[in-house]
């Protein structure tokens, strides 16, 4: 059974602005965010059938809820994130503690080598892709390549609305890719097209990309994605996937959705 790390939105809120989605004036509704998060958890546990690990929310760390940015985990090793923004750097010690107390071999990057975890590093079994330029530093990938002995192809993100790779790029379990080409520079688009067969690329339309249709959690043939993305659901259904739309607009106020709220532990 797949396992995911989540963190309840007990202290979630818009307390600073570090991406174009965040507006201090557009405060989140605490009760609504709790309800939406519980809806996501229910879908993941009951409908998708994953096992969830919950970490404790910490006051003053509103974005700790986005566990995708805790770090990257593979082969029993965990590389904790090194956040670009000081506002999120305070989360690093809590994620590190969680990894250490749960038996992972923690490998730390040097503090100035920005790397925002599974938010920017995603992949298939044979090749990983690393988003850079907005948050993570491309140099982190040559270090991580050494640690995991994996091919990592860096992709330049050129639209700050899609500031992490997982906001515009979602590898699916059957080898297809759900993605939004407009978030990438032309070199990255060429790299994606050369690595993934054309008929396996599911291109999300711009208006659904902006609803974070690509910020989806794929486990086996289940895909949990934000609601309001009917064309993307159609693309997924045509390939035999079962989409599970979940209302998550409270978290979109901070620039995150289903995928940002989870971290794969296996």
């Amino acid at each position: 059974m797949s396992r995911l790390l989540v963190c309840p939105p007990d202290h979630f809120g818009i307390e600073y602005e570090i991406n174009p989605w965040m507006r201090m004036t557009n405060a989140s509704d605490t009760k609504r965010s709790q309800v939406q998060w519980q809806g996501l958890i229910r879908t993941l546990e009951k409908e998708v059938g994953v096992q969830l690990k919950r970490m404790e929310a910490i006051p003053g760390l509103p974005d700790l809820v986005f566990t995708a940015n805790a770090g990257i985990i593979a082969e029993g090793k965990a590389i904790p994130s090194r956040f670009r923004h000081p506002e999120r750097q305070r989360e690093e010690e809590y994620f590190e503690q969680w990894f250490e107390s749960h038996g992972y071999q923690v490998i730390k990057l040097e503090p100035t080598l920005f790397f925002e975890g599974a938010g920017d590093l995603l992949g298939f079994s044979d090749v990983w892709f690393g988003g850079y330029r907005q948050r993570s530093d491309i140099r982190a990938y040559s270090r991580i390549t050494e640690i995991f002995q994996k091919v990592i192809l860096p992709l330049e993100l050129v639209d700050n609305k899609f500031y992490h790779l997982d906001t515009c790029f979602c590898p699916l379990s059957g080898g297809e890719l759900l993605y939004y080409p407009g978030a990438f520079d032309s070199y990255a688009q060429t790299v994606i097209e050369s690595r993934i067969d054309k008929h396996r690329c599911l291109t999300v339309p711009p208006h659904e990309a902006e609803r974070f249709a690509c910020n989806a959690v794929c486990v086996n043939h289940h895909v949990v994605l934000p609601s309001g993305c009917p064309e993307t659901m159609g693309l997924l259904e045509a390939r035999g996937y079962k989409p599970h739309p979940v209302e998550l607009d409270e978290f979109m106020k901070a620039g995150g959705s289903a995928k940002c709220l989870t971290l794969a532990l296996d």
Partner: protein, 412 residues
């Protein structure tokens, strides 16, 4: 010229990161040279490259660095060059830096200093105070000299493409007898004309060098070459005992290695003519005296004496005589050739494997060079030995010299 070296590593090939960085450098108006390339053996392996960026201004260099750093290009930390002490006369420290014939700098006390001279396979002698550096041959090293070792703190500048859009602008050392040669000769002639005009108007020291072998005389290129010298198109001549001997044999006996140049037949006892020639020149003491006394009336050597062409004759172990003036100590001959090179702006290496390769070794890569030989192995050998700037021309030396002279106005 401003320069900086950056490194790039990771999966930079399949991800097109290397292509993106190189494209950025060129699009912004810089030039690059990949000074170290280590491509992963398989798709899974990382690659590493070192890129030297060259720009005309510091501002452009800064702009390029700012543009490529987000893609992982990391400015290399610069170090001073590592110095070793020469342990004995003529002996370099074991890990000495072996030079190329490209413009080179060394870093001394945090400052990049031009290395004087530009010749392949030498060492760099460094003086710390005031900071200066010069390329020197192994034989000239003195015990205790400070010599650049390893590769840190040494940088080499790739050749800029010449502004002229002629055969030298392509830097194409490919050699083939199948390629047309007329445009090459036309380009060489244009350069020679330019140099002659500049010498006349500016009284500057620009020179054309010809290094040649005796086949020039045997094959019938003697008159054309003599005319080129007399007309002020050639200012330095490198040759051996044989070219001078056969040229003067032609003047004295009308033969070259015993063949009558007019009728093309061996004449009776003709094989002795070059020995008798050498003997007569030895008797008068020098080629100069032989020409001035009227013993040698015409030909290449006579033209050189009359037009004050700087001649260096380097001997070999098969020489007869040799003629007076032939330097039979190879190291001394190298030094004499080296001393004649400042100001050389065009080099013609014609019909001599030995002198072509020896001259190629001494020439900086910045000197446009043409190697003419009927045997394709000669220009190929020259480029294999590192003189990549040399344009190769597979043709008979006499045809080359005659066509070149005709291009420049010879009526012969």
């Amino acid at each position: 010229m401003e320069t900086e070296t950056v490194t790039l590593q990771g999966h930079i090939i399949d991800s097109l990161i290397l292509a993106k960085v190189l494209d950025s450098i060129v699009m912004l108006g810089g030039q690059f040279d990949l000074t170290d390339v280590n491509i992963g053996a398989s798709r899974e392996d990382s690659s590493f490259v070192k890129i030297q960026i060259n720009t005309p201004t510091r501002e452009l260099l800064e702009e390029i660095l700012e543009a490529i750093q987000p893609h992982g290009a990391t400015v290399e930390v610069e170090a001073d060059c590592v110095l070793g002490v020469a342990p004995a006369e003529g002996v370099l420290p074991d890990s000495f830096y072996a030079t190329t014939h490209l413009p080179t700098q060394v870093r001394i006390h945090g400052q990049w200093v031009d290395v004087k001279g530009s010749e392949m396979d030498l060492a760099i002698r460094v003086q710390k105070d005031p900071p200066s550096a010069r390329m020197i041959p192994m034989a000239d090293v003195k015990k205790g000299d400070l010599i650049a070792t390893e590769r840190d703190g040494v940088r080499v500048f790739p050749l800029e493409r010449p502004k002229e859009r002629d055969v030298f602008g392509f830097m194409d050392a490919q050699v083939s007898s199948e390629r047309p040669y007329r445009h090459v000769i036309g380009d060489v002639a244009r350069r020679m004309k330019n140099i002659k005009e500049i010498r006349q108007s500016d009284k500057c020291n620009k020179k054309v060098l010809l290094a040649g072998g005796p086949a020039i005389v045997h094959a019938g290129g003697r008159e054309a070459l003599a005319w080129l010298i007399e007309s002020g198109f050639i200012h330095v001549l490198f040759c051996g005992n044989a070219l001078a001997a056969h040229d003067m044999e032609a003047s004295l006996f009308g033969t070259s290695l015993g063949y009558n140049l007019g009728i093309g037949r061996v004449v009776s006892h003709g094989h002795e003519h070059h020995l008798r020639t050498i003997n007569r020149i030895r008797a008068v003491g020098s080629i100069q005296r032989a020409v001035e006394s009227g013993l040698v009336k015409d030909g290449i050597m006579a033209a050189c004496i009359r037009h004050e062409v700087h001649v260096v004759m380097a001997g070999t172990i098969r020489d007869d005589g040799p003629l007076p003036g032939v330097i039979s100590d190879s190291i001394e001959a190298q030094a004499a050739m080296r001393a004649a090179l400042p100001g050389v702006e065009l080099a013609l290496l014609v019909a001599s494997t030995l002198h072509a390769v020896a001259t190629g070794n001494l020439l900086p890569a910045t000197v446009p060079t043409v190697c003419v030989d009927i045997n394709p192995a000669v220009p190929t050998k020259l480029s294999d030995r590192g003189s990549f700037q040399a344009a190769g021309l597979v043709m008979d030396s006499s045809s080359f010299l005659r066509e070149l002279a005709h291009e420049l106005g010879w009526k012969g």
